[in-house]
Symmetry: C2
Subunit: 809 residues, 2 copies
C-alpha cells in the first residue's frame, strides 16, 4: 500500500493531533454533511422504494411494502465513520472499521456507497438517482442484500449477526500489521456477551512495535432489543473502573447536542490517535520500557436512534429501545407516520447532500479519504488481496521412518510442531499459532525454539518462553484464539488454532459463523480468497487418560459436517506422515475450514512418507498389508476406519482375523479425508461411485470404526450403494479418566468388538468363527475383571496398543 | 432444612463477625489440622497405592503405577473449604462450594471424605485405613473415579472440566434461594475465558431480599498449565479496578506464611460474610434503597502447589506452573523423588490427623459442620432432594380452536407465553424463564403480566416491565442464561431457556457438558433426579425475515443428537396445541435435556387439542386428512415432516398432489418427537419396528422434510427397514434476509420440490405426473423471476403460506 497523506510527511504528530482535535467550522460542516448523508441513506434503505431524493412529496406508494432493518445503532456508527474518515484523510493512517452492532448494516452500506466503493464492486448500484433507488430497494429484500453488515459489505471483515467477536477480530487483524488501526465499535448489548467481555484483554497480547493498534469505541446508547443494558445503566465510574482494569485509558464523549458532539468527538478521536501514535513511536524507536501500554478507549454515550423522531404516537422513541429496529412502523397506512417520516428525512436537507444527478456533493465528500485508504476499500478488509503464499519447508523433511507398518510408536503432532517451527522461522510476519495454553501439552513445543509466547503483562525471570517479542498466542480462551485467527486470516495471513478436541465446542458457533462468511464470500467475485482457518483438534476423546468425561467429545466434526461442501474439510490422519501431508495441504489452501483431528500421545505409525502422500492425495485407500484381501474378488468383509485410535483397533482386529480365522477375506480401508465418503454432487472431495465401489464394494458389509459419533458416517454415506450395510462403531458418549484401551471397550469399539462385528456381518465365514467370537468375549470379560480387580491389587495399568498385543501373541 | 447452629439464635451478626474474624489459637490449630488432612488425602490420591497412613517407610511399591491428577490448585481449594466449614459451624449458614478449578478434584473428594459424606454415599470408601486406601486407589483409575470434581463428587453441582461456568452456576443456584450462600472459587486460568468474564455481572441481577448470595473467591495462584495468567500478572490495582467495576467490594488476602494466612483468610471471610448479611438484612427488613449492593469478593493470592516441594531436581516447583499436575513424576524409579514425597507427606503430620483406625481425629473435625450443613452433603447440591413438582395449570386451557386443519394462522409461542405466565404466578419461588433479551420478541411476553424482568442496575421511569422484583431473567448472553438455568435446576428448581435458534450454538458446549452431567448422574443412586433443562429454540432458520444468514442455523439439534438416549430429547411441535402438550410434558420431566424447536411467527394450525395430545403421546403419526392414503394398503409415497415450516410445505405438497394427481396414494406422516425415529435399542423413545412400519411401510419411498440439517434424519433412521429409501430435504445452509417461502426454495425444500420428489420416487404414478412436474418447475421459475423483478417494481412481498396458496386455487 503506497497511499500517503498530504499531511503525513513533514508534519509532526503532536501538531497533527492539535489540528485534528479542533476542527474549524468548515470541517464541522463537512463532517456533519457526511453524517447527514449517511443517516439519510440509512433511513432510505429501511423505508423507501421510490422517490429516493425526495424530489416529490413523500407518499405511501414510495414506502416499501415491508419495513425491515435496524435504525437505533446506525447514527452512532455513522458519526464514528465520518470522524475516522477525516482522521484518515488528515493523517494517511491505514484503518479498517469493525461494527460490533453489525445489525446496523444500512449505516455501513451507506458509508461504502458514499465513498464510491459500493458502486465499484456493484456497478449497478451507481452513484446516481437510479443507483440510489437500487441501493434502497435491495436492502433486506429477497434477491437483494441482507440487513446486517456482512460479507457483501465492502470494507467489512466482521459480520455482526452473532454478537461478541468484534474485538477478537480487530485484535487478530492488527497482529503483525504495524501500520493498521482497527477501529472496533462495541455495542452495549454486545458488551453483555461472554465472548466480548473476554476479549477486552487483547491489549495484554499486543506488541506496540510489531503489531498495529485497536481503538475500541464502546458505544453506549442504552438499550438492546427490548430493555436497558448493564453497562449503560451502571454508575459511569464503575464502567470506567472496569475498562481501566482491563488496561485502557478512558476517553469519554457524552451527549446529543450539535455541533457540540462533533467538536467533542473530534477531540476525543484526536487524543486517542495521538496516544496510539505516541505508544507506537516510543516502542518502535527503542524507547519502550516493556510496560504494557495503556491503550486508549473511547466511550461514546449518544441516544439510541439519535436524530430520529423524538416521539411517535405520544411515546418516546429516540433514546429508547423502541428505536432499535424500525421506529415508525405504520408509514404506509398511517398518514401521520408518513408525515413524520417525511419531516425526518428532510431534516437532513438531502438537497445539500446530493447533486442533481444524485451523487454525493463535494461538501459530503470533502473529508473522505481516497483509494485504498477508504475504509470500505481497505485491502486489509479484503485480505485475499494482500495474501502471499507461505514460504513452506518441504514437509517430507519431517517424515518418520516407517520400516514396516504398525511396528513403532511416535507422537505425531511433535513432527507437526517441528514443521511449524520452521514455518514460523521462514514467515516471521505472516504465520501464527493460536492455542489455549496447550502448545507444549499438544506436543507442538518445537515452535518455542524460534518464538516465545507473546505476553505484555509482567514477565518474571522464572518464566519460560514468554516475552514481549513472542508470536505464539496462548490465552486460556478458545473464543480469543479462534477469533484472533479469524481476524488474522481475513486480513490475509496464515495460521492455526490448536485445541483440545472437546473444548473446540466452546467456540463451535465461531466455526459456524466463519464458515458462513467463507461460504458467502465465494459468491462475490470482488472478494479475494483468504487463507483457510486451520483447526487442529488434539488431546482427543480416546486419549484423555489424565482428564475426565468433560474432556471427551468429538462434537466439532459433527458441526463442521453441517457446513456447505465448498468450505468444509475434515481430515483424520492416522499417523505422523499422513498428518504432515495433510497439514502441508491445509497451509496451502484458501478459504476453507480445515479440521484436522489427531491425538498427541505416542501412537502407532503406519505409512512411509511416500505411502502417506499417495494415501492423502486419494483421501482414502485400501491398506493391503493390513488385510487378507488379495484384490482378485470382493472380500468377505470390509473393515474401514477414520481416526488414529480407531485405526489402530481396526488394524489389530484385522490381525486377529488374519491369525485366527484363516481364509476369511478381510479388506482394510482407511479414510483420511472424511469428505471423500460423500457423493461428489454433495462435496467436491466426494469420491466417484467407481472409486467408492473399488474400496467398499457394492454389497459387502462394512464395519466402520470412526473417531467421532457414529451418526456422522451414516449421514455421509447416505446415497451410496446400499448404505445400510455400513455398521459403524464410534464414540458413544462413554468416558471417564481411564486407559485408551478401556475407552474403546466402553464405547464398544475395541478390536474384539470389531472382530465380532466382522464375524456377524461377513458374507462367508470359514470354520472357527464361533470359537473366535467366544475368544473375543473372553478377552473382554478378562478386561472387565482386570478393571474391577485393579482397585484391589493395583497391577500396572497397561496401555494395550497393537504392539503390546502382537507381543502377547 | 432444619439444621440450626448453636450460635445462630440470639447472637447478633456483628458479634459473630468479630468472633469469626479472630480465631483463637485452638481454632487456628483446628483449621490447620483440617487443611493438613485435606492436603494429605489429596496427595495420597495422586500418589499412593499402598501404605495410606505412612505406617511404614514409603517405598516404590506403595506408589501408583501411573501418576495422574492436579496438585497445583488443590491446597488453595482446601484452605477455603476449611475456613468456610468453620463459618458454617459457627453461624449455621447454608452454603455450597463450587470449584471453578474443578481439576482440583482430589481436594474436594478429600473434603467430602473428611466430612463423612463420601463414606455415606460410597460405603466401601469407609473412614478407616481400608477405606482410605480405596479412596486413593480409585482416583483416576479405570473403574474408579475421574480426576475432576464431577458428578461423582458429593456436594458438587459443578464439573470443572470445561472452564468458565462456575459463577453462572453459582448465581443460578442462589436465585430464589434466600438462605443459600454459594462460595464460588474462580481459578485465574478460568478467569481468562469469555464465559467467566461475562459472568461477573451476575450481581447486576441478584435481589438481596429474595435471592441468596454468591461469594466469589478469585484464586490467583499465578499459572495455568504452562505459563502465567493475565490476572495474576497484571498490576493488582488493575485487578481491583476491574472487579470493582463489575460491582464488587474487594477483600484481598495474599501470602504463604502460616499461621498468618489462616488469620488473614479468617478475617477476610468474616468480613465478606458480615457484608453479605448486612446487605441481606437491610433488604429483607425494608431498609434497602434499591441501589445495587456492592457484594464482597475475595482475592486470594497464594502459591500454586502451596506446601508442596519447593524445588525438584534444582528447579522451582511450588509457586510455578510446574506444580499444575504431578510435581514429582519419577517417584517410582527415582529414590530422591521418593524421599521428597515421603518428607512432603510426613510434613502434614498424618499421625495427628488420623486415629489408629484411620478415621479423622477430633482435632480435624472440630470445626466441621454436621448433617445437611456439610457442604458435601448439602441438599442444594443434590437438588433433586429439594425438587417439588411444579404447580402446573391445565395446558388444555390455552388451546387454540382448530375447526379444520391448516385453515388459520396463530403465533404458537404466544400461547406458551400465556401458559408460562400462569406457571410463574403459581410457582413464585421455583420457576424462571432465562432469555437473551428476547422474551417479547419470542412472543412470550404474557409473562410480563405477572413478573417484570429482574435488574439491579439503574432503572428509569421510562423503562417497561423491569424492576428489582422481576424474576424474568434477560441478559444478552446465552452463556449466562444457560448457566443460570443449569444452576437453578441442579438446585432443584424449574425453568426454561428460550433463545434464537441459531445462537443456541453460542452455548452449545454448555448443553453438551450439562448433558454429560445428567448422563453420569443417572448411574448414581444417591443423586436424586433434577428438573430437566428445557431449551426453547425459536426465531428459527426458516423465519428470520428480519435478519441475515448469521441468524439461520439449526445446529443445536445436531449437537443434542450426539448425546446418550437417556438424556437427549428433541421435539418439533408443528403448531400451538402440540407445543402446549410438549411443554407440559417437559415441565413435568426430570433430568433430561428437552430441546423444543418452533418458530414465533404466525403459522398454520393443524391439530385440535385432543388430536395434539394423542399425536404427541405417540410422538409421530399419520395425518390422514392431509393425504390420500385410505389405509387399506401401502401408499405410493410417504411424505414425512418434522418442524413447523416444513410441515406446512409438506401439507401443501400433499394438497397439490391430491388436487393435481388424482389416484396417487400419498401418506403424510408428521413427527413431533424426533427420537421416535431411532431404534428402541438406541433410544427409549424409539418407536417399535411395528409402529415404524405402520407409519413408513417397509418399502415405499419416503420424502422427509426436516427442519434441521438433512443428515440428522439419515443418522436417525439408520438400521430401520431399508433406510436408503428416505430422501431428506432440510436446511442446507442457504439463507439471507428473505421471505420464508424463498427460504424453502433456496434450500430446495419448497412444496414444489416436495411434489417433484414425490413424483420421482413414488412406487406407482398415475397419468399427469410429467405435467405436474413441469408445472412445479414453472412455479419455481415464476418465483425466481418474481424475486429478480422484485427489486425493480417492488410488489408486495407475499408470504406464501398454505392458506394463500389454497386461495389461489
Amino acid at each position: 500500500m503506497t497511499a500517503v497523506s498530504e499531511h503525513q510527511a513533514g508534519t509532526r504528530d503532536d501538531e497533527l493531533v492539535r489540528a485534528l482535535a479542533a476542527p474549524d467550522d468548515t470541517e464541522i460542516a463537512q463532517l456533519d454533511a457526511w453524517w447527514r448523508a449517511n443517516n439519510y441513506l440509512t433511513i432510505g434503505q429501511i423505508y423507501l422504494g421510490g422517490n429516493p431524493l425526495l424530489r416529490e412529496p413523500l407518499s405511501a406508494e414510495h414506502i416499501k411494502p415491508r419495513l425491515l432493518g435496524h435504525w437505533g445503532t446506525s447514527p452512532g456508527l455513522s458519526l464514528i465513520y465520518a470522524h475516522v474518515s477525516r482522521l484518515i484523510r488528515r493523517t494517511g493512517q491505514q484503518a479498517i472499521y469493525l461494527a460490533g452492532p453489525g445489525h446496523g448494516g444500512p449505516a455501513l452500506v451507506a458509508a461504502g456507497y458514499l465513498e464510491g466503493t459500493y458502486s465499484e464492486v456493484y456497478p449497478d448500484v451507481s452513484q446516481d438517482e437510479a443507483g440510489m433507488l437500487r441501493l434502497f430497494r435491495q436492502f433486506s429484500s429477497p434477491g437483494g442484500i441482507p440487513s446486517h453488515v456482512s460479507v457483501t459489505t465492502p470494507g467489512s471483515i466482521h459480520e455482526g449477526g452473532e454478537l461478541g467477536y468484534v474485538l477478537v477480530h480487530a485484535f487478530g487483524a492488527v497482529m503483525d500489521n504495524p501500520d493498521l488501526l482497527a477501529v472496533a465499535v462495541v455495542g452495549d448489548g454486545e458488551a453483555e456477551t461472554g465472548p466480548l467481555e473476554g476479549s477486552w484483554k487483547g491489549v495484554s497480547f499486543i506488541n506496540p512495535a510489531r503489531d498495529g493498534a485497536v481503538l475500541p469505541i464502546l458505544h453506549l446508547n442504552g438499550a438492546k432489543i427490548a430493555g436497558p443494558t448493564v453497562l449503560a445503566r451502571k454508575d459511569p465510574a464503575e464502567v470506567r473502573a472496569l475498562l481501566q482494569g482491563h488496561g485502557y485509558e478512558i476517553i469519554e464523549v457524552t451527549g446529543a447536542d450539535l455541533p457540540g458532539m462533533h467538536h467533542r468527538f473530534a477531540a476525543a478521536l484526536a487524543e486517542a490517535w495521538g496516544k496510539i501514535r505516541a505508544i507506537q513511536q516510543a516502542a518502535r524507536e527503542g524507547e519502550w520500557d516493556g510496560t504494557r501500554p495503556r491503550w486508549p478507549l473511547i466511550i461514546l454515550r449518544s441516544p439510541k436512534g439519535w436524530t430520529g423522531p423524538e416521539e411517535v404516537d405520544g411515546i418516546k422513541v429516540t433514546g429508547s429501545w423502541r428505536s432499535h429496529q424500525v421506529p415508525l412502523s405504520g408509514v404506509r397506512d398511517n398518514p401521520e407516520h408518513l408525515a413524520i417520516l417525511d419531516t425526518w428525512l428532510r431534516s437532513y436537507r438531502p438537497e445539500e447532500l446530493f447533486d442533481p444527478t444524485g451523487a454525493p456533493t463535494e461538501l459530503v465528500r470533502a473529508l473522505a479519504p481516497e483509494g485504498d485508504l477508504r475504509m470500505s476499500a481497505s485491502p486489509h478488509a479484503n485480505g485475499g488481496r494482500l495474501t502471499e503464499d507461505l514460504d513452506l519447508p518441504d514437509f517430507r523433511d519431517y517424515a518418520i521412518e516407517v520400516p514396516r507398518p504398525a511396528a513403532q510408536h511416535a507422537e505425531s503432532t511433535r513432527k507437526l510442531g517441528e514443521m511449524m517451527r520452521d514455518i514460523y522461522a521462514r514467515n516471521p510476519y505472516s504465520f501464527r499459532l493460536f492455542c489455549p495454553d496447550e502448545t507444549n501439552s499438544n506436543r507442538l513445543g518445537a515452535i518455542f525454539e524460534v518464538s516465545d509466547r507473546g505476553f505484555m503483562e509482567h514477565v518474571t525471570d522464572e518464566d519460560v518462553k514468554i516475552s514481549r517479542d513472542g508470536r505464539v498466542m496462548e490465552v486460556l480462551s478458545e473464543h480469543n484464539c479462534h477469533g484472533w485467527l479469524e481476524g488474522y486470516t481475513l486480513t490475509g495471513r496464515h495460521g492455526m488454532f490448536a485445541t483440545y478436541e472437546a473444548f473446540a465446542m466452546v467456540s463451535a458457533s465461531q466455526t459456524v459463523q466463519h464458515g458462513k462468511w467463507l461460504q458467502e464470500a465465494k459468491h462475490l467475485p470482488w472478494r479475494a480468497k483468504v487463507p483457510s482457518l486451520n483447526v487442529l483438534l488434539t488431546s482427543t476423546a480416546w486419549r484423555n487418560d489424565h482428564n475426565g468425561f468433560s474432556h471427551q467429545g468429538p462434537g466439532l466434526i459433527q458441526v463442521v459436517l453441517t457446513q456447505r461442501g465448498d468450505v468444509a474439510r475434515v481430515y483424520l490422519p492416522p499417523d505422523a506422515n499422513t498428518l504432515l501431508s495433510v497439514a502441508d495441504h491445509c497451509f496451502r489452501s484458501r478459504s476453507y475450514i480445515n479440521l484436522i483431528v489427531i491425538d498427541k500421545q505416542p501412537q502407532l505409525q503406519f505409512l512411509t512418507m511416500d505411502e502417506a502422500i499417495e494415501h492423502c492425495t486419494r483421501g482414502a485407500g485400501i491398506w493391503e498389508w493390513a488385510g487378507t484381501d488379495d484384490g482378485t474378488s470382493d472380500p468377505d468383509i470390509v473393515l474401514a476406519c477414520a481416526g488414529d485410535v480407531v485405526t489402530m483397533e481396526t488394524v489389530a482386529a484385522a490381525q486377529i482375523l488374519k491369525e485366527k480365522l484363516l481364509g476369511l477375506k478381510v479388506r482394510v480401508v482407511n479414510v483420511v479425508d472424511l469428505m471423500t465418503l460423500v457423493r461428489p454432487k454433495d462435496h467436491p472431495h466426494g469420491m466417484s461411485e467407481t472409486m467408492f465401489t473399488e474400496l467398499f464394494t457394492d454389497t459387502v458389509d462394512v464395519v466402520f470404526s470412526f473417531h467421532g459419533y457414529p451418526g456422522a458416517i451414516h449421514q455421509l454415506v447416505h446415497g451410496r450403494p446400499d448404505a445400510d450395510r455400513f455398521r459403524v462403531r464410534g464414540f458413544i458418549e462413554q468416558g471417564t479418566t481411564t486407559t485408551p484401551f478401556d475407552m474403546t471397550v466402553r464405547n464398544k469399539a475395541s478390536r474384539y468388538h470389531l472382530v465380532m462385528d466382522a464375524i456377524n456381518n461377513a458374507k462367508r465365514l470359514p470354520r472357527g468363527a464361533t470359537e473366535l467370537k467366544t475368544w473375543c468375549e473372553q478377552q473382554l470379560a478378562k478386561h472387565e475383571t482386570y478393571v474391577v480387580e485393579h482397585l484391589e491389587d493395583m497391577p500396572e495399568v497397561r496401555d494395550w496398543t497393537l504392539g503390546d498385543w502382537a507381543e502377547q501373541g
